[in-house]
Symmetry: C2
Subunit: 107 residues, 2 copies
DNA sequence: TTTATATATCGTAATATTGCAATATAATAA
DNA sequence: TTATTATATTGCAATATTACGATATATAAA
């Protein structure tokens, strides 16, 4: 075999795993980082910022979009990408919940 | 090609990506979830909890250990696994930082 | 209309991940 | 010592991801 047995796990566990999978590549972390650095959401020059070819970046952006980590709106010829705060909050809350549950543990 | 061009990205971006990669599989999310549910850290029966063979689970545990998400201490014949709160805090803080930076943005 | 610019999709080669049977290792029990 | 039990490692087949050249699409400018 080799395929992930995702059907064997709960929808929630799969959702979380997919969210983290979207963040599991340095290029995608760099994209998120860059979107944070730029003052406004008028982007479109991510291709010049990263050491990857345009189709590769387009692919990474698609994965971030599918995971709802970023949103893109058409702005003339370019596309304006920005981070989706809801997803960020969702992830932060998830780890806050874990931290909370850990408080009563032995370690 | 096909290999991730990780050398082209910063150490920090690679570190974060590796952390999320460790959480990018439903089995590993399920393991973390299970460690949270169990009262103490005396575990050892993760194999019976998940629909995967023992070598597969051992491999997933290894990846979580390498990413410092869990720690394992030898407890007689078994091994006692528990979640590393430091790493959880680190991730939570990262997203808190992102949320903070987003406050001054247009979306 | 034609050209230029920005992004997306297709096809494919290189590499990585996943899962497990078989086997190894290590500690305890008999 | 020889089981027994728990976990790790090896080897390999199936599948997924990554990267990019070529090409397609879509909008704006000339």
């Amino acid at each position: 075999m080799g395929a992930s047995k995702s059907e064997s796990f709960s929808a929630e566990h799969n959702e979380l795993a997919n969210l983290f999978k979207a963040l599991s590549h340095p290029a995608r972390i760099a994209i998120v980082d860059y979107l944070l650095k730029v003052d406004a959401c008028i982007c479109g020059d991510i291709v010049n910022e990263l050491p990857l070819a345009q189709p590769t970046i387009s692919q990474h952006l698609k994965e971030l979009k599918n995971a709802n980590i970023i949103k893109g709106t058409i702005e003339g010829t370019a596309i304006c990408y920005c981070i989706n705060p809801e997803t960020i909050n969702k992830i932060e809350n998830h780890f806050g919940m874990i931290r909370h549950k850990l408080k009563n543990k032995c370690c």
